[in-house]
Amino acid sequence: MQVSKIKYNESMKYRSVFDIIGPIMIGPSSSHTAGAVRLARVARGVLAATPGRAQITLYGSFAATARGHGTEVALTAGLLGMDPDDPHLREAEKLARETGLRVEWRLADPIETERLGLPPTSARLQLWPAAPAGEGSWGLMPPPVDVLGASIGGGAIEIREVNGFPVSFSATQPTLLVFHVDRPGVVAKVTAELAQAGVNLSQMTLGRKARGREALMVITTDEEITNALIDGLQTLPDVSRVALVKPV
């Protein structure tokens, strides 16, 4: 059989036939329900812990039709770790109350959405982990996780910002976020570790706040990432934290 000429294009927003015939999901809206679940699942993955408190800002069409499309229920479901086709999705808000997850909502006005140049279905999710037993409050602690993402249609998402770093990933493959210090050789050590584990990288971006300061590597891989590998990366010098966002 002749090999197809069709080339893989990195700029393509949708890559899989199953992005189009799918996902299997609980209604009513793929962008406002399934996509919203996925956005929250990514934020939960970046936090790498059970969230105890969330502040969520909704932009554009998300803000305009949040209740009707079940966007708030869906985002809450994602924070709880549910899948887009979870039959208990519609009970997410009740479950959140029972498990002590507090979600605060902010609806951005259309002018703000336009000024920020965001897609019409965007959300910012700021998360705090569940407080350890005995400690009742997070005080004025800034959110350890701050994720800005958009639901771009058909349940697909695009993450645009993580903790102030501009990023671009869709969470359709395992995605590693390696928070590290901007020093020579860190990237080489991380990729060497991945190479040794036989992990192939499909996409990688690098950003830093300032020279020699905080930096973030976002690595998308073809293979699944084991906990042992995450532990290995975590012990590397100048690596401060590693989070794995699993495909949803």
Partner: protein, 300 residues
């Protein structure tokens, strides 16, 4: 996955179908065995069937209460027509497709389980058209699964060249895309050439151009449910036109591009904000208030 015309040319040159190309592409891209991919698509077909069946249930109500058991109503009408009690003005298969599309959308509005094809707001069209065509042609499950790959690759091009988001491109990007996918896949399911499938996509999409996304109360119900019914019928008709040998003078990629451009020109009011079109009619506004009031009361 950026040009349907290139895909059609390649399929024609190699004597394969668009479904073959889709399966080949997906296997290469994911590294998953094609048999596994067919199986994965088969699971989606089962969910589609289940949603069509669930949507025929008499007690089904939407989460908001705005729409009732419409799928049941339509199928009851078809039964009455078959026994000669009531007239059926469209053909049986067209009406069945419209009924099934409605049924799936009622399940969706009830926060039930559906397959987004390509979106939840347009989830009725592809299952309704393909299941109905499969019945007409007595096609087996494997043929329908392959047709879903055809639908998928058509949708992939539309998504990457234009949009499949009502918030970005209006209803034409959702219901229009779904109908184009369904029409092209129906042609291949019926044994039509990749070129005929492309013609069906072009003919269908040009009839959806400019369609706004104007849901009442921001809910995926009015008019989404009815538009799924209408465009299931359009997809079937355009598939027949293509099988009859009609070709679109405007090539399919150009039709997709103009759909993307038109979407960007639609004002925000007509892109899933619930502030324009049918949503902004006096009755649309009244219904929205009614839903808010019900929610307010149910939360007390």
């Amino acid at each position: 996955m950026q040009s349907l015309q290139e895909l059609i040319a390649e399929a024609t040159a190699r004597g394969v179908t668009l479904a073959d190309l889709a399966l080949e592409y997906e296997a290469r891209e994911s590294g998953v065995d094609p048999r596994k991919l067919l199986q994965r698509m088969g699971e989606r077909l089962q969910v589609m069937r289940a949603s069509v069946a669930e949507g025929a249930r008499p007690g089904l109500r939407s989460y908001s209460g705005l729409t009732g058991p419409l799928g049941h109503k339509l199928l009851a009408h078809l039964a009455a027509a078959r026994s000669g009690e009531k007239p059926l003005l469209s053909g049986t298969s067209t009406f069945l497709a419209a009924s099934r599309a409605t049924a799936v959308m009622c399940v969706n509005a009830a926060m039930g389980r559906v397959v987004a094809t390509p979106t939840a707001g347009s989830a009725g069209i592809v299952p309704a058209v393909l299941l109905t065509v499969a019945e007409t042609l007595e096609a087996d499950d494997e043929a329908v699964i392959r047709a879903l790959f055809t639908a998928g690759i058509i949708g992939l091009v539309i998504a990457n060249r234009a949009s499949i988001s009502g918030a970005a491109g209006g209803c034409q990007a959702e219901v229009g895309a779904a109908a184009g996918m369904a029409a092209g896949a129906a042609v291949e399911l019926a044994g039509g050439s990749p070129e005929a499938a492309g013609a069906a996509v072009a003919l269908t999409l040009q009839n959806a151009l400019g369609l706004p996304c104007d849901p009442v109360a921001g809910l995926v119900e009015i008019p989404c449910v009815y538009r799924n019914a209408a465009f299931a019928a359009v997809a079937l008709t355009m598939a027949d036109l293509a099988l009859a040998g009609i070709r679109s003078p405007i090539p399919v990629d150009e039709v997709i591009d103009v759909m993307g451009q038109l979407g960007r020109h639609l004002p925000a009011e007509l892109r899933e904000t619930g502030r324009g079109g049918l949503a902004a009619t006096p009755t649309g506004i009244r219904l929205a208030r009614q839903v808010e009031w019900r929610e307010y009361r149910s939360e007390r």
